[in-house]
Symmetry: C2
């Protein structure tokens, strides 16, 4: 199979449409889908055809630019209303990843500024959304280099969920660190947490590692502490969905347990994310909204009901790892070691 993960952007603007890799069909099939309306873009985010905080941010930005393009011939008032409606719809798709709101705000502000001339506003919005595609990849390559420097020459790295090329426009955050370390000649082996309930580790991270030829081993989430106990994990690198001003980090459910286990074994625990994932408006992680998802994700792995009918289910999509358990926050602007109000303020300055 060709090296699709590094050649094809996870999300892109193509032929006046939003083009995505449909991540719900991986690893069985590699399928690109073209979305022609903001409603289709919102649906793709909600149903996780595209997921990963940076990727859904850029996708929402393109979705909003698409709404503007389609409203470019309207009167200013109608244009303004159409982009506001599209922005409101896109905001409802997922609650936890702050990149979504950051990206929508950034594109909407341009549209509002120039709404007196809808065609010009639409062009500006599209230009800005397309700039975010390049920015995202550049940020990941930069944070990858910063993170790679933290890893030993030879290391077993554990990752949770997929913070890879598929969670971003390209290259990845946590897997960007892995890719950069490999490009720098370090010898890495990656332990891939399967990441129940949606299995993004099994279905996306394992696929990316196979595509890249990076040695990797799939495990169930509950095996990670046992590997740590045996001395078989040298570092943990994960992504983030929202980081509070003090460094508390929301990420895929299970991340917190990995951080607790890493601390108990004296293993460094790194979070890799662009600064757009930092929500400086929230003092601590206690303020981060946690999405609750449908019970079927737990009871029916692979869409087959395996649980007994009638059992109650708890299914939070994310948890919050307190900053105190995070060795360093790796961003495109540098590394906050350890992440706290001071180091994060310095990064954002």
């Amino acid at each position: 199979m060709p090296d699709k993960t590094t050649r094809t952007r996870t999300v892109d603007w193509a032929d006046g449409k939003v083009r995505l890799i449909d991540q719900t069909r991986l690893p069985a099939e590699f399928v690109l889908i073209d979305l022609e309306t903001p409603e289709a873009v919102a649906d793709a985010i909600r149903t996780m055809k595209v997921r990963g905080a940076p990727a859904i941010g850029v996708t929402a930005a393109l979705g909003l630019a698409l709404a503007a393009e389609q409203a470019r011939d309207l009167e200013p008032a109608a244009f303004r209303e159409r982009i506001a409606t599209a922005a409101a719809l896109l905001r409802t798709t997922r609650p936890t990843a702050v990149n979504l709101f950051w990206a929508i705000d950034r594109i909407l502000a341009l549209g509002q500024r120039d709404a007196a001339e809808p065609a010009r506003a639409a062009a500006e919005m599209l230009r800005e959304a397309q700039a975010m595609l390049d920015e995202d990849e550049a940020a990941n390559r930069a944070l990858g280099r910063h993170g790679a420097a933290l890893l030993p020459e030879s290391a077993n790295v554990l990752t949770h969920c997929n913070a890879g090329a598929l969670a971003t426009v390209a290259y990845g955050t946590a897997l960007g660190v892995v890719r950069a370390a490999v490009e720098a000649g370090k010898r890495l082996h990656v332990y891939v947490d399967e990441t129940r309930p949606r299995l993004q580790g099994m279905q996306l991270t394992a696929w990316e590692m196979l595509q890249e030829g990076i040695p990797a081993t799939l495990i169930t989430d509950n095996m990670a502490p046992w590997l740590m106990r045996q001395g078989r994990i040298d570092a943990v690198v994960v992504g983030a969905d929202r980081i509070a001003a003090n460094g508390d980090t929301a990420n895929k459910i299970g991340t917190y347990g990995v951080a607790v286990a890493a601390r108990a074994h004296g293993i460094p625990f790194y979070v890799a994310a662009p600064v757009s994932t930092i929500d400086a408006s929230l003092a601590t992680g206690a303020e981060i909204p946690i999405e609750q998802r449908p019970p079927e994700e737990v009871t029916s792995p692979g869409a087959t009901l395996l649980a007994p009918r009638g059992i109650a289910v708890y299914n939070p999509a994310f948890d919050v790892t307190p900053a105190g358990l995070i060795t360093a926050l790796i961003t495109e602007r540098g590394v906050a070691t350890p992440p706290n109000s001071e180091t994060i303020t310095a990064l954002l300055a």
Copy 2:
């Protein structure tokens, strides 16, 4: 559905055969199977139609008694050979749970003692194996009472895997503690770890809790630390597959991570097991053999391949929790608090 878990023994002797609940068909179907040869019994253990340390111990005992029954008319030398062969076969089925070896040794010793009179030896072996059925249930009820006394009047209890009626002849070990607490009027709610890769929590423990009407909520394994962080777990109770002389405990993969997280949150972590699970011949848990199982258990939940083809997989069936993370070991002879060489020696005395 009738209350099958408490009315039907998980394993029994019926009509000259070994009768089991086929646990690979739960929760979709409740099916009893009759095994007519020692080879069929060995296969049922190996393929996990019956699982759980106490249950496989008793099943192996019945399987060996079955071999003796079928050899009762042979000459002593041939009888001796047949039971030795059956014992050897049964020993190869699963390596970690010590109850298997304990039960086989106990029945085989009788057969060897009385082998000069095969018919009498076979009768003795069957009588002993049948006694083990009653002993197991009585032990579970006793340890249940000891464990129930340790739980608060109202508690959220986390359990991992299935150490229930289905893991024993009846009543269960960890779930025996839960049942005894409920019978004593305590108000319990059970969080059920789904327990990847084989999902014994989702498929067996959730089913038992529904059967008994005990309030329970299913979670993925990686949610447990997040529940602990939120103050929503008051105690953890798990079973055991083998306990070393110092209290180190092998149990289903993932148990160790639960213990690490419980310690980090100051939550009591209890192991419930009959004394037959203690292997006093092993000084520490480092000597316990850990079964490695096929990669398909990880890559294909519900028998559907979900991982990319070609990914490497690590699949240890068990891990070892050091005694220092165990608040108390609950047995039918009383509670070892904390478990260590002294308290365990005292229990066995």
